[in-house]
């Protein structure tokens, strides 16, 4: 069925059109993004249950973007009188005028930017979904999660508890400018299984498995299968040792591959960083940054994931950018204002945490292309190294091309065979061109995951997805 567009947004559209018109009398550019995205968040374990109708992506509000005398400003709000749009316009102008007066007193100059293209465009997209969070049978879901949690505690060695969590959002967004009228609606859902077990020496190990995608709570059916392998994984973690720091040959599972994609040339080619001179990538367009085995795509059109929108939060249609082609850096990704400043075209990557936050260049789906090597051949080719599984967290460094990835566990490989020894946790660090330059094998299959969220620096959290095939390369592990 179609993910129906918000009746609320349809109802306020005439008023917002009026707002664009009134503000347009004093502004070189005006646009409005309005959102109406209900959802839920549920958590069930053996020891507690909780439910809320808010999660990272639920919201209802509007943000106006204007350019006035060459100065870009935004006004975010969620209270207004539909019957008195001139009053709202006056409130917005007064609010921005107060800030402008302060900036003038401080002598602030505007960064030269120009005006975006506003070619006429209408779009109405309602993506497919199997169900909706608003009508989800939470009683049945809670009961099922309780049963799964119980199964987790029974089957995962030493588990103190097993937490089943889910969130689902029915997203509707409306974008209006003088010439653009864009509407989209889609549903995203994700779920996780998490369990903790103490080790004999008082340490604590945890496992984390997730499902996510474009669609309704039916996606959560996949959690049952995720629980199946959790007991074996925990047994391995409980018997794991610490790694001896050093450089190793590594094989990464699709989740760790995705984490590398995200931290290496996801953040590294966000072109708002090019404007600020904060990314080395700006100097490497057309140059080699990885081996022949490396091709990487980024865009909301790359996969039907939790970030598969039809247009971004600046009213730019979603794209599919080839960032790296056979090891050569081809292109970055760009929001609208950064594109104006760089003299290029936006790529549909302008995203906000929610309507009350600024739009930045952000990732959507960041994915390595697949190869032709089997996992068995990869393992056989490793003399001394680790097979890394379970992406946990990472951090980017676009200015210096450093990378940090925290990985749940590593399986030792010696002389082409898995030895059965497991290490945990593993911190992968390195220099991005070396890491990508050493990629020598890639598997034909690939996986894309969309659990978790991504920050810009240490703030501005948005949903992203990333992945790719099994890869073989070299890295420093600690």
């Amino acid at each position: 069925m179609k993910a129906s567009f918000s009746p609320w947004l349809d109802a306020i559209t005439p008023a917002l059109r009026e707002l664009v018109g009134v503000l347009g009398e004093h502004c070189e550019y005006v646009s409005v993004l309005s959102t109406d995205s209900p959802g839920f968040r549920l958590s069930v374990s053996q020891r507690s249950k909780s439910v809320s109708d808010s999660n990272l992506t639920t919201e209802r509000g509007s943000v106006v973007r204007v350019c006035r005398r060459g100065r870009w400003g935004e006004f975010a709000f969620n209270c207004f009188d539909l019957a008195d749009i001139p009053a709202l316009a006056a409130r917005i102008e007064a609010g921005l005028d107060r800030q402008a007066a302060l900036l003038d007193r401080c002598g602030a100059k505007n960064y030269p930017t120009g005006l975006p293209e506003d070619a006429p465009l209408e779009l109405f997209v309602e993506k497919e979904t199997g169900s909706f969070p608003e009508s989800a049978d939470l009683a049945a879901l809670t009961e099922r999660f309780a049963a799964l949690s119980g199964r987790g505690v029974e089957t995962i060695p030493g588990a103190l508890d097993c937490v089943l969590s889910a969130s689902s959002t029915h997203i509707s967004k409306l974008f209006l400018s003088k010439n653009r009228y864009l509407r989209q609606s889609y549903v995203i859902t994700e779920g996780t299984v998490r369990a903790w077990s103490p080790t004999a020496d008082g340490d604590m190990k945890s496992i984390y498995e997730g499902v996510s995608g474009l669609g309704g709570p039916e996606i959560l059916d996949g959690l049952d299968a995720k629980l199946d392998g959790a007991g074996q994984t925990m047994a391995e973690l409980l018997a794991s040792g610490r790694i001896v720091p050093g450089e190793y040959e590594i094989i990464t599972d699709p989740g760790v591959t995705g984490l590398i994609a995200h931290e290496a040339f996801g953040h590294g080619v966000e072109m708002d960083m090019f404007v600020k001179g904060r990314a080395l990538g700006a100097d490497y367009i057309g140059k080699r940054v990885g081996s022949e085995k490396v091709t990487m795509h980024e865009g909301a059109l790359c996969d039907e994931s939790v970030t598969a929108y039809a247009f971004d939060d600046e009213g730019v249609l979603a794209g599919d950018v080839t960032e790296i082609e056979r090891g050569i850096l081809r292109s970055g990704i760009c929001d609208t204002l950064s594109a104006l400043r760089l003299g290029t075209a936006p790529t549909g990557n302008g995203k906000r945490e929610n309507y009350a936050h600024k739009a930045y260049t952000r990732m959507t789906n960041t994915v390595f292309d697949s190869g032709t090597d089997s996992l068995e051949d990869m393992i056989a080719s490793v003399d001394s190294g680790y097979l890394l599984r379970g992406a946990e967290s990472g951090m980017e460094d676009p200015k210096h091309w450093g990378i940090q990835c925290v990985v749940q566990r590593g399986y030792e490989i010696a002389h082409g065979r898995l030895t059965g020894r497991v290490v945990s946790p593993v911190v992968l660090t390195g220099y991005v061109p070396e890491l990508l330059g050493n990629i020598s094998m890639a598997s034909p299959d690939r996986g894309i995951e969309g659990n978790g969220a991504c920050g810009k620096g240490h703030k501005e959290w948005v949903k992203v997805a990333d992945g790719g095939p099994w890869l073989k390369t070299k890295a420093r592990l600690g």
Partner: protein, 424 residues
């Protein structure tokens, strides 16, 4: 008006109890590329958070469902949302606990926050950051908010408080010929704190200069690690998390009141209602609990858990609350002495992460000072990893303290037993 409407509807709802919070936020935001304005933003948002409770027939269980009601919601939407919350609360039965029933008898401010004045203070301070030809501000983002929170529950406990909350993201660069490095800082505070901000910015510029001269971190074994910047908060946050009632109830913390926390006899961790210029200075928590000063850990012994009413009551704590300001202390050594002997002082990470349950610690090294044999080398690259639970017995803290927003911690912290993965 919306607040009163929601109160009336909640009163009429056949639920066991309810809580309602109105949060009004006026935000001023300024984004700069070097000294030029990228854009400015005004945020005027109002939120209504509702918690609806349902009790089991035997009175031994309580369920809760939380929700946000948009200020533009129609009467029909509100009614539908509240009844959905009640239905969901009935599914979420947990052991019974009670809501706040004593009005908080503490002074607090409900005066509007001067967001414009605070913003002006920040912009003035930022213009005074001492740049040079080779060390300069690359970009900055300023967020200033005035927040007013009005909370009421079905027991009649009601309070209103206003507070400022600010955040400045500062990226500084240092250049030598064609080579350029950057450092990232995220300062949080109540208002501007001009002198502290300028001091912190100057320190960041100095670190940038040092990073230009850094060599790859060598292989190191058995060397002590010294933490002397805001990342050290993550070490003390781990102790606070281990003393959290929810962590304890869910068995993710095995610490017991009256027992040692494995950090020697010195460590003290206090919960405080306020700290100078903290962005989290409000005397009452979101559930109506008065945030009173107390020791969570005293002289290395776990003393009192803290947290939500639900989990605090499960632990049998008669008096508890959420905590937003912390002080870690107990060191007797001087900061200078803690840097003596062989050590690696790490001052810049990509991100220093400590897992709250396991204590596993990891961070990529962006800048450090390797001190051994009477020499100091500036290093970069590689990583530090280890387990804080294992390393905690070696904890050494300076007597001198430093404040990072809502945390006051020893200026210098030294640990043994962490592993360094070098680059060369």
């Amino acid at each position: 008006m919306m607040f009163d409407k929601l109160k009336r509807k909640l009163d009429a709802l056949p639920c066991a109890a309810w809580e309602l919070t109105e949060t009004v936020r006026e935000g001023w935001e300024f984004y700069f590329i070097r000294r030029d304005l990228d854009q400015h933003r005004a945020v005027h948002v109002t939120g209504y958070s509702v918690r609806v409770y349902a009790a089991s027939k035997d009175g031994r269980s309580l369920g809760r469902a939380a929700g946000d009601i948009p200020p533009t919601a129609t009467d029909a939407e509100i009614d539908r949302a509240l009844h959905a919350l009640l239905s969901r609360a009935e599914l979420m039965m947990n052991p019974f606990y009670t809501l706040a029933d004593v009005p908080p008898a503490v002074p607090f401010s409900s005066e509007p926050v001067d967001v414009e004045g605070i913003s002006g203070g920040f912009l003035s301070a930022m213009s005074a950051v001492p740049e040079t030809e080779t060390e300069f501000v690359n970009s900055s983002e300023l967020f200033v908010s005035g927040v007013t929170r009005h909370t009421l529950n079905s027991n009649g406990v009601e309070f209103l408080c206003s507070y400022p909350s600010s955040m400045l993201e500062l990226v500084v660069s240092a250049r030598q010929g064609r080579r350029e490095v950057e450092l990232y800082r995220l300062f949080r505070s109540g208002t501007c704190g001009r002198e502290k901000l300028l001091g912190d910015a100057a320190a960041a510029l100095r670190c940038g200069r040092d990073r230009l001269a850094a060599e790859p971190t060598p292989k190191l074994e058995g060397i002590d690690v010294v933490f002397s910047t805001a990342d050290a908060v993550e070490l003390y946050r781990w102790f606070a998390q281990r003393m959290n009632a929810e962590m304890k109830y869910k068995k993710l913390s095995d610490w017991e009141g009256g027992s040692g926390v494995g950090a020697g006899a010195a460590l003290c961790l206090e919960a405080l209602p306020s700290l100078e210029n903290s962005s989290r200075n409000f005397p009452v928590d979101a559930e109506g609990g008065v945030i009173f000063p107390r020791y969570l850990i005293r002289d290395g012994i776990a003393e009192q858990f803290w947290g939500e009413r639900q989990y605090s009551q499960y632990l049998g704590l008669e008096q508890s609350s959420l905590v937003h300001n912390f002080r870690a202390s107990g060191g007797t050594e001087g900061a200078v002495a803690l840097r003596e002997g062989g050590c690696l002082e790490l001052v810049e990470f990509s991100a220093l992460e400590v897992d709250p349950a396991s204590g596993d610690l990891a961070g990529e090294i962006r800048l450090g000072y390797l001190r051994r044999g009477g020499e100091t080398k500036i290093v970069t690259g590689g990583s530090v990893s280890g387990n804080l639970r294992s390393a905690a017995p070696s904890l050494r803290m300076s007597a001198e303290a430093v404040r990072y927003d809502n945390w006051e911690i020893p200026a210098v912290t030294r640990l043994s037993g962490l592993r360094i993965a070098g680059v060369s």
